[in-house]
């Protein structure tokens, strides 16, 4: 009997010690430029819980192209990381929540009082059947048009407000000898352009309906999106597929092109790498036809079922969602906090303007960056783009998109 008690006490002591120590494995694709931001978060965590050994497991590759494959083999092999980075929204829900691999975090949100701290539009995108499954750490905006203010003054044009206006401006600029007024990069940046065109042509309501199945892809409205997209592509450079997104941004800065549609990580590139002053060295406006709408994408962390260090993960998630954590991470990452109460003085001029829009604008999610469509749709959207680019047939592309949407049960 005594032995039994001793064992019990030992076990109790052991579990107490475990609560504050042990390990925490963070799986992400934040290496290279984004590494310091993640490190700031990890340092903060270590300060709070000095006995926990944090394992920083990163797999390089932009947008997680390689990390996601590694994550899937680990999850299928029964070795889930304690917490992993994932694009908030359908990329998490369509792959992992539907597969019943994630824990419901709604209690954590209630406990921490986060329901009022994050905008409702964001909570809606994160939720599946009324439950929340991940904690967003940052917000990027997808529908931004970048330009070089000095060059626009020289050409005497204003940033266009609608896509129709954009096409007129494009003709004006072509008349002034600018071969390709729109700078475009490799494959995914073309899809990135598509989602801004779609939002601009359809408007926020129909754009949202596209993803919940209320508007079909072969609807004439969506065929019109493809037609506009084709005309916008005619304004772009012919060597697009060979350029990275940075090289496309460079063309705008050098005056070889007037506009570029890219997410606001471009602001980080221009402000940090190129040392340009926001508003002077580079200017920005919402993508044509999308003023008042914030097309967002977000990185988030969740809690997989069956992890070894659950208590440590919950502490990590508390930190990730806290004001302190988000304000340490985001200025370094070049994004804004998902919370609406963060401290503007820590951010540069572009990010401050994005923060104002984040609080006041209507929020919709990005397709290419995983917010509104599951991976099964998103990765096959490349095939749709291929069908369009090879024949420039808007109807064929719309039909293919609808066929894939049906096949992957989009919006059901």
């Amino acid at each position: 009997m005594r032995k039994f008690f001793l064992a019990l006490v030992a076990a109790a002591l052991g579990s107490l010690a475990l609560a504050q120590s042990g390990k925490l494995e963070i799986f992400s694709w934040w290496a290279g430029d984004e590494g310091p931001a993640l490190q700031a978060l990890i340092d903060l965590y270590k300060k709070r819980y000095p006995n926990v050994e944090v394992i920083n497991a990163t797999v390089t590759g932009g947008s997680g192209v390689n990390a996601r494959a590694v994550l899937k083999t680990r999850m299928l092999g029964g070795d889930p990381p304690d917490s992993f980075q994932v694009h908030a929204g359908q990329e998490l829900i369509g792959t992992w929540v539907l597969a019943d691999r994630m824990e419901d975090l709604t209690p954590l949100f209630n406990q921490e009082g986060w329901m009022n701290r994050f905008p409702k539009g964001l909570i809606d995108l994160l939720s599946y059947k009324g439950k929340i499954y991940s904690v967003p750490v940052n917000i990027h905006r997808s529908n931004v048009m970048w330009y070089n203010p000095a060059k626009l003054r020289e050409w005497g044009v204003q940033p266009p407000k609608t896509w129709a206006e954009f096409l007129t401006t494009c003709q004006t600029l072509k008349g002034k000898g600018l071969e390709a007024p729109l700078a475009l990069g490799e494959n995914w940046t073309q899809q990135h352009l598509w989602e801004s065109v779609a939002l601009g042509v359809l408007g926020a309501n129909d754009y949202t309906n596209l993803w919940n199945g209320k508007l079909r892809f072969n609807d004439p409205k969506v065929v019109a999106v493809w037609n506009t997209f084709g005309r916008v592509l005619d304004c772009a450079n012919k060597d697009a597929s060979g350029l990275s997104w940075q090289q496309a941004v460079d063309r705008v800065l050098e005056g070889q092109a007037a506009f570029n549609i890219m997410g606001d990580w471009a602001a980080g590139y221009m402000a940090t790498t190129k040392q340009l002053k926001p508003g002077e060295g580079f200017g920005w406006a919402p993508a044509p036809g999308t003023a008042g709408v914030f097309m967002m994408l977000s990185d988030s962390f969740g809690l997989p079922k069956g992890v070894k260090n659950r208590a440590n993960v919950l502490n990590w998630l508390r930190l990730v969602g806290s004001k302190e954590g988000q304000d340490a991470f985001n200025p370094l990452k070049g994004s804004i906090a998902a919370r609406t109460d963060s401290d503007p003085s820590k951010y540069n001029a572009y990010l401050q303007s994005a923060m104002r829009d984040w609080k006041s604008n209507r929020i919709v999610g990005s397709l290419v960056h995983g917010a509104v469509a599951p991976e099964s749709f998103m990765s096959q959207f490349g095939t749709v783009m291929e069908i369009y680019l090879s024949g420039r047939n808007a109807q064929a592309a719309s039909n293919a998109a609808q066929a894939i949407a049906t096949q992957v049960r989009l919006g059901q």
């Binding site: 029964g78 992992w96 539907l98 019943d100 494959n187 060979g242 096959q380």
Partner: protein, 374 residues
């Protein structure tokens, strides 16, 4: 149990047993598992795709049917066509360049050893390294496109890896007919060779099957349409860059093979031919090339299976998403690990396996048969 009494046989069996078991599990076991997976609907229902205990239903050859005739799988069909053209040009390039280099080196020029090492060197690089180097050289703005400026010409404009131009387009619906024509032409050649060699029976079988296939092609073959509409597929010019890099890497290897073959031809044979008054060209045409035929066959098999499986070179040169340079192996990776369509990815894998087997198995068969004859 007589063989057990022979101790050597027993020891021999015990020694190879571990590798037999490992091969059985890790090669053939997984081939069967992949085949079984390809017959299921794993990945169609997003709720089951990555769940801990996925519920998988058997759906027969539905995935294969979709790949060849489905509306949204046009990319797979283009990839098959890409692989076909890549394989043909890659093998032709390697054999041509390799043979040329070998003939030059066979004449023992000055610094032969030095050049041999230089030509063979690219083979020792990994495809990833080759791909990265060539990716830089084939950038539209620089590298190879700048070469003409050295001699005062305007710089090249060709978009090496991203060109969307396509030549030699054929509708997917015409493929059954064309395949039948090609097969019957091959059979006719086999028949002619058999009749010449005096193998009457073989000749009749070959010509008979050729006639049957032709009959089918002109009657039912034209009505067999996999797709309800015309879907053109052709040779993507973007592949020229990939072929260039792949030939650069592997032609040194074919050179080594040919050089070994050339050195194996006894000097007496050449001298005898020369004494008989053969010109240099006749010497190669009548004596040397026929003797090199077995080496050509081995080289074709090795290069053929490399080109069918090619993945890393294209991944490094153009990325996985660059559709003009897509091949089935890349599509398999994207389908499985990005789109979560695990069963369909497995089906692509099985088709690749079949293609490689179609190249390898006849070769192994003929090798084994000739060994037995010996």
């Amino acid at each position: 149990m007589n063989w057990l009494k022979n101790k050597d046989t027993l020891y021999g069996f015990l020694v190879i047993l571990p590798s037999l078991v490992l091969l059985g599990i890790f090669v053939y076991g997984f081939i069967f598992q992949t085949f079984f997976t390809s017959l299921t609907d794993w990945g169609r229902d997003p709720a089951q795709a990555l769940s801990a205990n996925p519920q998988i239903r058997f759906i027969g050859f539905e995935n294969y049917r979709e790949l060849f005739t489905g509306f949204v799988d046009a990319r797979f069909r283009q990839d098959l066509v890409n692989t076909f053209f890549f394989t043909v040009f890659f093998i032709m390039g390697c054999l041509g360049v390799g043979l040329g280099l070998a003939i030059v080196l066979d004449r023992s020029p000055k610094g032969e050893g030095f050049f041999r090492t230089i030509f063979l060197f690219p083979m020792s690089l990994s495809f990833i390294v080759t791909g990265t180097i060539w990716r830089w050289m084939l950038q539209p703005q620089g590298g190879v496109n700048q070469l003409p400026t050295l001699v005062g010409l305007p710089k090249g404009e060709f978009a090496w890896l991203t060109s969307r131009q396509q030549v030699w387009q054929v509708s997917w619906n015409d493929l059954p007919f064309i395949t039948a024509l090609v097969v019957s032409v091959v059979l006719v050649f086999i028949a002619i060779a058999a009749f010449r060699g005096g193998e009457q029976r073989r000749g009749f079988i070959a010509s008979g099957s050729a006639a049957l296939i032709l009959l089918w092609a002109f009657t039912l073959g034209r009505t067999l349409q996999p797709l309800p509409y015309d879907e053109p597929h052709g040779f993507n010019l973007a592949f020229i860059g990939i072929i260039l890099a792949a030939v650069w890497q592997m032609s040194g290897y074919t050179m080594a093979l040919y050089l070994a073959g050339l050195r194996g031809i006894p000097e007496e044979l050449r001298e005898a031919a020369r004494v008989d008054g053969a010109s240099e060209w006749q010497l190669y045409q009548r004596i040397i090339f026929p003797l090199l035929a077995p080496i050509t066959l081995s080289a074709m098999i090795i290069l053929g299976h490399i080109s069918l499986k090619i993945f890393d070179l294209i991944f490094a040169m153009a990325g996985a998403d660059n559709a003009p340079t897509d091949v089935p192996a890349l599509l398999m990776y994207l389908t499985t690990f990005r789109a979560n369509q695990i069963a369909k990815g497995a089906a692509i894998g099985m088709i690749l396996l079949l293609l490689v087997a179609a190249v390898i198995v006849p070769y192994l068969y003929s090798q084994l048969k000739s060994e037995v004859r010996r």
